[in-house]
């Protein structure tokens, strides 16, 4: 069987559009007879039709459809969202879900503020801290935040010891140590102006003194309670933290004296390019 798909398509289109069929057939002289046979068939098939529907049914079905539409319209009045196109409804639902997640997230973040290591919400608390650091683009503000978070780690360790969770308290001490070391590194790696250097120096002096007193008291109390191992761990942290505070103080002092010599301007961190 030869493939007459294309000539047949052209002939049928000519018939549909009431164009000159003979012109199309002239282009295919070899297939003319077969094409005419196929076209006759298409006409015979097109002449067949199913009986028409009962006019009473036609009217009945029309009225039922309109009644269903009226019922649906009524339902839309009670539910305004149903009147909106579905993509808009989806957006509304997505917005509501996002708002719920946001509110839920903020609630959880607020509730996590007092959590301690090992609590279910503690991960959220650390996540919030990381998010705050990631969204703080000012170097001085970021260093101040790190100092604040170091305070939080110390307070957590104190509460853990007070709650009798000695092992968790010792781990908390290690976390505090890490936080102070991180603060020390940040001081060294940040460009700070004179005012930030002065502010941080004051905060550092105050925190170092307070932390020293807290750690001494904690170690004494643990030793008095017979927990020599934990007391020793606290003492080690105190010693290590003292060294870190001293390093930070020296760093800030050197920047302070450099700024007094060079005027009131931003001091680059070691390794940063010097301003011209």
């Amino acid at each position: 069987m030869r493939d007459l798909t294309r000539p047949l398509q052209e002939c049928l289109r000519a018939m549909d559009d009431k164009h000159n069929l003979q012109e199309v057939l002239r282009r295919y002289p070899a297939d003319r007879d077969e094409l005419i046979g196929l076209l006759r068939l298409s006409v015979d098939l097109g002449a067949m039709e199913a009986p028409a529907a009962d006019p009473a049914f036609r009217l009945r079905a029309r009225n039922r459809m309109l009644a269903a539409a009226a019922h649906r319209r009524q339902a839309r009045r009670w539910n305004p969202l149903a009147a909106l196109p579905r993509p808009v409804v989806r957006l509304v639902y997505a917005g509501a879900l996002a708002a719920a997640l946001l509110v839920g997230g903020l609630t959880a973040a607020a509730a996590s503020d007092n959590s301690l290591p090992g609590d279910p919400l503690y991960g959220i608390k650390l996540g919030v801290e990381r998010a705050r650091l990631a969204t703080t683009f000012d170097s001085a503000a970021r260093v101040r935040l790190e100092l604040q978070f170091a305070d939080v780690r110390l307070a957590e360790a104190q509460r853990l010891f007070a709650a009798g969770r000695v092992n968790d308290g010792v781990r908390g001490m290690a976390q505090y140590d890490t936080a102070v070391t991180q603060f020390n590194r940040s001081i060294a790696g940040s460009a700070l102006d004179t005012r930030a250097v002065d502010d941080l120096s004051r905060a550092l002096d105050e925190r170092a003194a307070r932390a020293d007193a807290t750690l001494k008291e904690l170690a004494g109390s643990l030793a008095a309670g017979g927990d020599a191992e934990a007391a020793a761990a606290v003492a080690r942290t105190q010693s290590h933290v003292e060294q870190a505070w001293s390093g930070s103080k020296r760093d800030l002092q050197s920047r302070g004296s450099a700024s007094q010599q060079g005027g009131h301007q931003t001091k680059p961190a070691p390794g940063e390019p010097q301003p011209h």
């Binding site: 007459l4 009986p51 079905a61 309109l66 196109p85």
Partner: protein, 187 residues
């Protein structure tokens, strides 16, 4: 699609009764005949046609004019309902019925008799086609659907429908040249 059609459909999507009635009047005959040709039963065809238009009201807000023609969308609803019904009844889909009549009017009784015989032979030949070929032939020539609409309903490319249409007509042509064989098949 014409702008007036777009506007009509937008009004129908807002469930405007006049717009819905207009769409119903435009498409009722085509849908009813499409369904009847495949169910061979008036009451069943009425039931299913009514379901098509109730479903249209129910889901018209999901119809997007930029996707497919409205008629294709409506025939797709009818097609899906038919397929469901065939499945439930365990029947082979899309067989053409011998109850199809010749729409041409003949004054001469001899011509009426001759056309009646030709129609009977043609339907017998159509029933020898594959179900898919019968589907294309009936949608194209009896339901008068465009190739694109058939392609959309059968989820095939327009080129494949053109080709199927040619093969179906060529097979019919061949069958009609062998009248005895058709008679044997019928027997």
């Amino acid at each position: 699609m014409k702008t007036s059609d777009d506007a009509l459909i937008r009004r129908a999507q807002a469930l405007d009764p006049e717009a819905l009635a207009e769409l119903y009047d435009r498409h009722f005959d085509g849908i009813y005949r499409y369904v009847y040709t495949r169910l061979h039963h008036h009451a069943d065809a009425e039931d299913l046609t009514e379901q098509v238009f109730l479903k249209m009201v129910d889901s018209i807000d999901r119809y997007r004019p930029r996707g497919v023609a409205f008629s294709s969308w409506l025939y797709r609803i009818a097609h899906n309902l038919l397929v469901d019904r065939y499945r439930r009844a365990g029947r082979e889909p899309m067989e053409l019925t011998a109850e199809l009549r010749d729409a041409r009017r003949h004054a001469d009784p001899a011509a009426v008799a001759q056309h009646s015989e030709e129609r009977r032979r043609l339907l017998a030949a159509v029933q020898r086609l594959t179900p898919e070929q019968q589907q294309v032939i009936s949608m194209r020539f009896i339901d008068n659907l465009a190739i694109d609409e058939i392609a959309s309903l059968m989820r095939r490319r327009a080129g494949a429908i053109h080709s199927m249409q040619h093969r179906a007509l060529a097979s019919l042509y061949r069958f009609l040249l062998e009248p005895e064989q058709v008679e044997v098949q019928r027997a």
